[in-house]
Symmetry: C2
Subunit: 435 residues, 2 copies
């Protein structure tokens, strides 16, 4: 049974704090192992990559077979049935349409001093997407990472995806093709991250690495951060549903379970204004858990980290929601727009009972790579901005420099940075001699 | 003497690669020390902070004196002369005007399926700015960090700035006041970062930490990343000047020295189409080094990491510049706009000989917190976006769900995420029963 809390209870504040602070994941300390693997790939390149892939994935590669050939990808894609292909194509199209709207504008303007200012966006040159192998090899994640990169204008887009025992998910390759990925490498783990960051004889280095992975991949991403850009380190999935009594308990139960089934460390929370409704949802969860394929995982998540929280008002719900800063937030209430205005910290919001969170995982359009572990307080889901960077632009006229330069010189002197001041002064002196 | 390279020489490619790969900074490994300090502050809060400040800054504080009082700030600000105040005010105004233009737009739209999609930006709740003490305690950095945070709408904005032996730079306090900073704490080092990230009895935790610092501060920021957001870890400063022969060698020399004087590990590079001009700039640097206050630092930087690179064409210059991906790039050429279109990777660009880089450090308007160490390939300077996060929004109508839901269900099944699929199916079944 999950925790039942009532915001009106005297002990609520402490119980809620305990829920927020619960450590859901014990990441193993693999940092030394990862450091050694990265050093090995930096030193020995392809040879290390091939050796490590043989050891960890039981797969014998050569420099030539590190990447799938076009013919191999063709053959795998041909195995995908028409219905799956159509679903992936619809998802790709909708994700592309959403992310295309995110493209930011360049700007240039001239201010009152005559200074010409602005900025310009440009795409990262090359990006590498990590795609886990085995059970967590999700084609939807390929779309969610690769399409924003392509929309941003990234020139070279590659995937690293381990294929243990040579097994590959054909949908992953089809998603890569639909997203415009250039190359798919059959490599995984810390060795793949090292190859993407530093390059080998066969694999050119990239500038940015995104995508989920296990503890080794996460530790390797942390280590190469700075050499290349990385996305956030993802934690276990979370959902918060805020629901009034006017909902089908079974729908809400399924929405909670759709995150709980990801991982035993996932967290599914319900905040409701109606205690009896909360009970009905919990009963519906139990019923669904009797037959759900992933009931062992979803049941453990719900038992260990699930909670039903009863509040008096939706204002209270919004306040608690902001303290949770959930990755996914469903507003299953009569007026979700009104409630949304009171919410500040959430990765993605799903408005109304007809918008199950799963829509956002696949075909809504917004990205499903979202901030976990309360990081929606300070970070955003993946977007085209993750594959772009901004160059600021400034151009002074002699008149503009005459107007604002002396203040710059003064500040340089106050910071004892003489050459800074002199670089302005030398120009001002020329103007004064002219004047 | 710095390196002189000519792109036409047979050995150029290797020499240029060596220049790019030169390790300029040997960061000491302080990670264990930093981990212990963070653990101490998490466990003992204010008491640890007070003890560590006594040890490292030779300053006895109490919980009450951790922060400057308003009266103390008043008294320090009153020590600032009118000229320095006016210069800071002009800088603040110009930085505010530039960053106000960066505020991104929210978006909502309805697509062909009837799905209502969009996103909304909101500010981080609380931000902490680290400001180094002593010689590198720069008021300009306070403006560059605090103003974007305030423009973004951050509610609580605090500074941590160590005051070794109780010495404080009054300009830092004035800059904090002009930027709208709420509280300035007299703490520094890893202990300050720990207090900002985790909070103590007196200091409420923040959501985002930005600002430069020494190796301890940088290691602490890396460690608390995830708990809070951080900005990039800054490396030593860099400038690349691309100049044709039609420039005053002394201006260019001063621009190079304005970065070289920051740090012995700073790097100042000149690319020119005229070898004789390159020689004249090097001579001008030597002349200026005879008298420059910070000649020991600037001279070491120029000798060890400076370079003059001669190219045939500006196209070649642009190509090399993109491989360098400089933090600061000056285009001192007849047509800087034309050259800009050929540049892709740079933190900030300064257009034409009347725009010395120092303008950008103080009063141009753009931010001076910029990507170093080739990270302009994948990251941007500080901006209002660093203090904002985006929540995506999706709202399905029953009709929209009927149109796109089946594809989502299909993809969920293909990923063996049954509850995801069922959460869509339960709603589609209701529609079908209605229909």
């Amino acid at each position: 049974m999950p925790v039942f809390l009532n915001a009106a209870d005297p002990g609520f504040s402490a119980e809620f704090a305990a829920l927020l602070g619960a450590k859901r994941e014990d990441a193993p300390d693999v940092d030394d192992t990862v450091a050694a693997i990265i050093a090995d790939v930096r030193t020995r390149g392809d040879a290390a990559l091939i050796e490590l892939t043989a050891r960890f994935d039981r797969l014998e590669l050569t420099a030539e077979s590190l990447a799938f050939s076009a013919a191999e990808i063709d053959a795998h894609c041909a195995r995908v049935c028409a219905e799956d292909r159509a679903a992936l194509e619809l998802a790709a199209e909708r994700i592309r349409a959403y992310h295309t709207r995110q493209m930011p504008e360049d700007a240039r303007w001239t201010d009152a001093s005559g200074a010409d200012l602005g900025w310009r966006w440009s795409a990262v040159g090359a990006a590498g997407l990590y795609v886990p192998g085995g059970l967590a090899s999700y084609p939807s994640s390929v779309l969610m990472n690769a399409i924003p990169a392509r929309v941003a204008g990234v020139e070279r887009l590659v995937i690293a995806c381990p294929t243990p025992d040579g097994v590959v998910n054909p949908l992953v390759l089809l998603a890569a093709r639909l997203s415009g990925v250039d190359t798919v490498y059959r490599i995984g783990g810390a060795q793949a991250i090292a190859a993407l960051a530093y390059g080998t004889e066969t694999i050119a280095p990239v500038d940015k690495i995104t995508g989920p992975g296990n503890a080794y991949v996460a530790a390797a991403k942390r280590r190469v951060f700075g050499r290349v850009g990385i996305d956030m380190i993802a934690g276990p999935s979370e959902i918060l549903v805020i629901a009034d009594a006017d909902n089908d308990p079974d729908w809400i139960a399924l929405d909670l379970l759709s995150q709980a089934e990801h991982d035993e460390s996932a967290q599914a929370l319900l905040i409701t204004t109606d205690a009896a409704f909360g009970q009905r949802v919990a009963q519906a969860v139990d019923r669904r858990l009797e037959t759900l394929e992933r009931r062992a995982i979803a049941g453990a998540s719900w038992r260990d980290f699930g909670a039903v929280i009863v509040v008096e008002t939706l204002d209270q719900a919004a306040e608690l929601s902001d303290r949770i800063a959930p990755e996914h937030l469903e507003l299953c209430v009569a007026d979700p727009e009104a409630l949304l205005t009171r919410i500040r910290h959430a990765g993605a919001v799903f408005m109304g009972a007809w918008t199950p969170e799963a829509v956002g995982d696949y075909i809504g359009g917004p990205n499903h790579v979202l901030p976990t572990a309360r990081s929606a307080r300070f970070s955003s889901g993946l977007s085209v901005l993750d594959f772009l960077k901004r160059t600021t632009i400034a151009r002074m006229t002699p008149q503009a420099l005459a107007e604002i330069g002396p203040a710059g010189e003064r500040l340089a002197q106050s910071e004892s940075l003489e050459a800074h001041g002199l670089s302005i002064r030398a120009r001002l002196d020329r103007l004064n001699r002219r004047g």
